[in-house]
């Protein structure tokens, strides 16, 4: 609207009306009494089961703002999708239905038990249960499992999912995938043998102590060859779990109904209480929070935590419906060594000491919605971690910046008067922009002038994931977060710290760490089968990364999640980033 032709006075009157309206709506913000009735209590689903029950029936209602990247178990990479997929697909092994860290334990699912490991950790043998079935009543065979895993090789058709098994079983990329397989049964992958329908044997070229965790991922699910619709499989996956797809319109809704062929006796993991599971997808996160708080829906499918507005309403009026789990993510700033002056460890340390950790924590949402101030680079859910180990004293002095040490480090770095750099931050994440501003404000006080560059958050791989671009744009500090694909030092740290993972595009080793000692430690970790010794190596890795001062951990992330009063059998599980264990949920 331009000023020609309209009366200025009239538009001035209109703006007066707008401000008036603002004032009135502001006046009626808040208020609204508790209609949710008997909530189980604050943090009732943390480390214990809230509303424990075995009552079957009813409809479990999910709501979300983000559809799965794919419901095809081979292709999905969202954590919530892996959690949800257990409704309709099973794996050889899966996570125990236990709250908190106990949920990290692997148990047999399609297999009778965990693997028999032989040949120095290079051979894994499983025996399948007798009563595991597909949704048409046919038994799930070892060949179905092998075929399902082979689909990981067909990256040209089925891209997007994790490829850990592919990398471990076929490091030289020799097998060309089931769709190009010349053998008659399309089961040409040598590393997996199926001597009979009930036995499956994995032969690893090199031992990997996390192999079984990789088999617990959704991408190791069985797929039946005659039901494989390739890239269309996401629209109607063929079920071997307690529920099957009834109706799915992408980005709108998904309805699952009971799979009558699934036998409860075969499955000790899935409670399968509701008769029906629905997912409704909308676009507005604030609206999502409102509908949850209203009691229209039970769980946030995406499990990203309540937004600031919803958080206040939930905590002030319905605290008993809120849980505050750890997500396993660490939020951090990372210093690419190719960008001067961050090639010098003392300049990196200057930034670590010069940042105000408390104000970054507040920017991220405070101790509850943001998480505790991070101290080192292993998330508390990973074995070998020790959140109280704080080599840089980040939590000391209530998280305030250590200006004296920062100045000392600047002198050692040869920049006693500070330097100029750029903080790269995703433009679609308000909290990350806030954290960058908090960092900028505190660094300024020790003489480090940081500019903030907001880049397109959909272009991570091509911008901060490209070391050339990072160097060209002078990104000395990149703000990012990372969570483990499976809870081990390898599942968390290898893409971040191993020299093999410095990539030209889609790089995640932002610090460009190329340290043979770290690479060796990963090799040692992978060949070590003893859990205690693995944890010790994880601690050593963490120590090396922290001593290198490549990262400034911001927070060990936590989130505030909504649990409706209708939900039964609710608990947060460490196996899925602190989300509720979806397959255990029931409704009153």
């Amino acid at each position: 609207m331009r000023f020609l032709g309209t009366s200025r006075r009239r538009s001035a009157a209109a703006s007066a009306l707008v401000v008036g309206a603002l004032l009135t709506t502001a006046a009626c913000g808040g208020g609204n009494s508790d209609t949710n009735g008997d909530a189980a209590g604050y943090n009732a689903a943390i480390s214990k089961v809230a509303n424990e029950s075995d009552k079957k029936g009813g409809t479990l209602k999910f709501i979300g703002v983000q559809d799965a990247d794919s419901w095809d178990p081979t292709r999905g990479y969202y954590g919530f999708a892996w959690n949800f997929m257990r409704f309709y697909t099973r794996q050889l092994v899966t996570y125990a239905p236990e709250p908190g860290k106990a949920g990290n334990e692997l148990v047999g699912d399609l297999a009778k038990s965990k693997a028999k490991i032989s040949n120095d950790g290079k051979t894994y043998t499983y025996e399948l249960k007798d009563d595991v079935t597909w949704q048409d009543g046919k038994p799930v065979t070892s060949k179905d499992i092998k075929y399902g895993i082979e689909r990981q090789w067909a990256q040209d058709v089925l891209s997007g999912g994790p490829v850990y098994l592919k990398n471990v079983l076929d490091p030289d990329d020799e097998y060309e995938g089931p769709y190009k397989d010349k053998s008659k049964d399309k089961l040409g992958l040598d590393a997996i043998k199926t001597p009979d329908d009930k036995t499956i044997v994995f032969n690893l070229p090199k031992a990997n102590s996390d192999f079984e965790s990789m088999l617990a991922m959704a991408a190791a699910s069985p797929v039946r060859q005659d039901k494989d619709t390739k890239s269309k499989y996401t629209l109607k996956p063929f079920s071997n779990g307690p529920y099957k797809f009834k109706d799915y319109s992408p980005n709108k809704k998904l309805v699952l109904v009971r799979n009558d062929e699934w036998k409860r006796s075969s499955d000790k993991v899935r409670a399968a209480l509701p008769d029906k599971v629905t997912v409704t997808l909308i676009t507005n996160p604030d609206e999502l929070d409102k509908r949850l708080i209203n009691g229209d829906y039970d769980v946030d499918l995406n499990a990203t935590g309540l937004s600031p507005a919803g958080r206040a309403a939930a905590l002030k009026q319905h605290k008993g419906n809120v849980d505050n789990p750890e997500t396993g993510f660490i939020r951090y700033g990372v210093f690419p060594q190719s960008v001067k002056p961050f090639d010098n460890i003392h300049c990196r340390k200057a930034v670590i000491y010069g940042s105000d950790h408390k104000s970054i924590q507040t920017a991220r949402g405070g101790p509850k919605a943001g998480g505790d101030i991070g101290t080192n680079m292993l998330p508390p859910v990973v074995p070998g971690s020790d959140p109280s180990w704080d080599p840089y004293g980040l939590r000391s002095n209530d998280g305030a910046a250590n200006k004296k040490k920062a100045k000392e480090e600047l002198k050692k770095c040869g920049k006693p008067n500070g330097f100029t750099t750029t903080i790269a931050v995703r433009n679609n994440k308000d909290v990350e922009v806030d954290s960058a501003e908090a960092m900028q404000a505190s660094l300024k006080k020790v003489g480090i002038k940081a500019k903030i560059d907001e880049y397109d958050g959909a272009q991570i791989a091509g911008i901060v994931g490209n070391p050339d671009v990072v160097k060209k744009k002078n990104y000395g500090i990149i703000i990012m977060g990372w969570g483990p694909d499976f809870n081990s030092a390898q599942g968390y740290g290898k893409p971040l710290w191993h020299s093999d993972y410095i990539l030209d595009n889609g790089n995640n080793n932002f610090a460009e760490i190329d340290d043979p000692k770290i690479d060796d430690a990963f090799a040692k970790f992978q060949s070590e089968l003893d859990e205690k010794k693995k944890a010790k190596i994880a601690g050593e890795l963490n120590k090396m990364v922290m001593e290198g001062a490549y990262y400034l951990p911001f927070t060990f992330e936590k989130m505030l999640t909504w649990r409706s009063s209708r939900l039964t059998n609710v608990y947060s599980t460490a196996a899925y980033s602190g989300q509720y264990d979806y397959v255990s949920l029931g409704v009153k």
């Binding site: 009366s7 007066a16 308000d430 501003e437």
Partner: protein
């Protein structure tokens, strides 16, 4: 209307008062500027607008002095005043207190008053400079099109039509996305300001250009222009000594009315994240943050909202007054 004038609204107050006094005794002999000033003085609303504008300009110019006086730095964090659980100020009314008269920002606790004061700098700077760009371009091109006519007029008029039809806001947002972080010796906020001034000004000139062209079309056939031409005056003399002084009135009016529009555009751009860069304070950016905390901290949305509202209203009232004073017969 009387003779062309060199001195329009800028006539100083003493002179104008004297003129008004004289006017009571002698009816003849007042310039357009004096008549306009006398009329403007009678328009209380316009005067109030003018005074507000003057105060705003002083606030923007003396921002560092003012913030030093209230003892607050616009970029200083005060997180002790923030409830870490919700990220909102602990005090009531957005954390208003004797130290922080208008409260503090959510999340980081920066002083709202200090940021409003510094925000005025960005708003007025962009408002004035982009109006200047538009006026210079619009006047020169409008006068050329109107006076010479023919293919030049056709060309300039079509360009104006094109620019008027162009989705300006979308264009600036996409332009900001591709502009590098530093160029021409400027960095960060400097680059953003430069681009905003240039682009808002560039899309604003056709409005002035059309008015000037229309006026020139009618003026160039007047007797005094004919006279100058027949006496052998050069084109430059006619354009700038004969025509331009008679265009001052409409140009002044449209400039005063263009500034608030530009201020709104700047606020919109900052709101959308295409404005100045953090930590530089800007009203639009404050509104953007306020949206997230609106339910819990409505005061923080009101303060920058009122700042924008008052500024735009003041400029508009003043601009309306100037127009009425210069051309009382003009229709709206």
């Amino acid at each position: 209307m009387t003779a062309p004038t060199h001195d329009t609204v800028k006539a100083d107050e003493a002179e104008a008062d004297a003129a008004a006094d004289v006017a009571k005794k002698h009816v003849e002999g007042r310039s357009l500027g004096r008549i306009a000033w006398a009329r403007l003085k009678r328009d209380k609303l316009a005067l109030a607008g003018g005074v507000t504008v003057a105060v705003l300009i002083l606030v923007a110019v003396f921002a560092p002095v003012l913030t030093a006086l209230i003892g607050q730095d616009p970029n200083e964090y005060h997180q002790d005043l923030i409830d870490p659980l919700f990220g909102t100020p602990t005090g009531s009314f957005g954390g208003m207190s004797a130290d922080h008269l208008l409260g503090v920002e959510p999340v980081n606790g920066r002083d709202v008053l200090a940021r409003i004061i510094y925000g005025a700098r960005v708003s007025l700077l962009v408002g004035f400079l982009s109006a200047l760009v538009a006026v210079v371009l619009g006047t020169v091109l409008g006068i050329l099109a109107g006076y010479f006519g023919g293919w030049l007029d056709a060309l300039i008029s079509r360009v104006m039509d094109m620019l008027l039809a162009f989705p300006q806001l979308l264009f600036i947002i996409s332009l900001i996305a591709v502009v590098p972080n530093s160029m021409l010796g400027l960095e960060g906020t400097g680059v953003r300001l430069f681009v905003m001034v240039l682009v808002i000004g560039f899309f604003g000139w056709p409005y002035i250009g059309r008015i000037v062209r229309g006026q020139t079309l009618s003026l160039r056939e007047r007797e005094y222009v004919e006279a100058a031409r027949s006496l052998g005056a050069g084109k430059r003399y006619i354009l700038f000594k004969e025509l331009l002084p008679n265009l001052i009135a409409p140009i002044t009016v449209y400039t005063t009315l263009m500034i608030p529009t530009n201020i709104l555009t700047e606020a919109a751009l900052s709101f959308l994240g295409a404005g100045v860069k953090p930590p530089t304070a800007s009203w639009g950016q404050m509104l953007n943050t306020a949206v997230r905390y609106y339910d819990q901290d409505p005061m923080f949305m009101l303060v920058p909202g009122i700042a924008i509202f008052v500024t735009v209203l003041a400029f508009n009232l003043f601009g309306d007054g100037v127009r009425d004073a210069l051309d009382p017969k003009g229709t709206r």
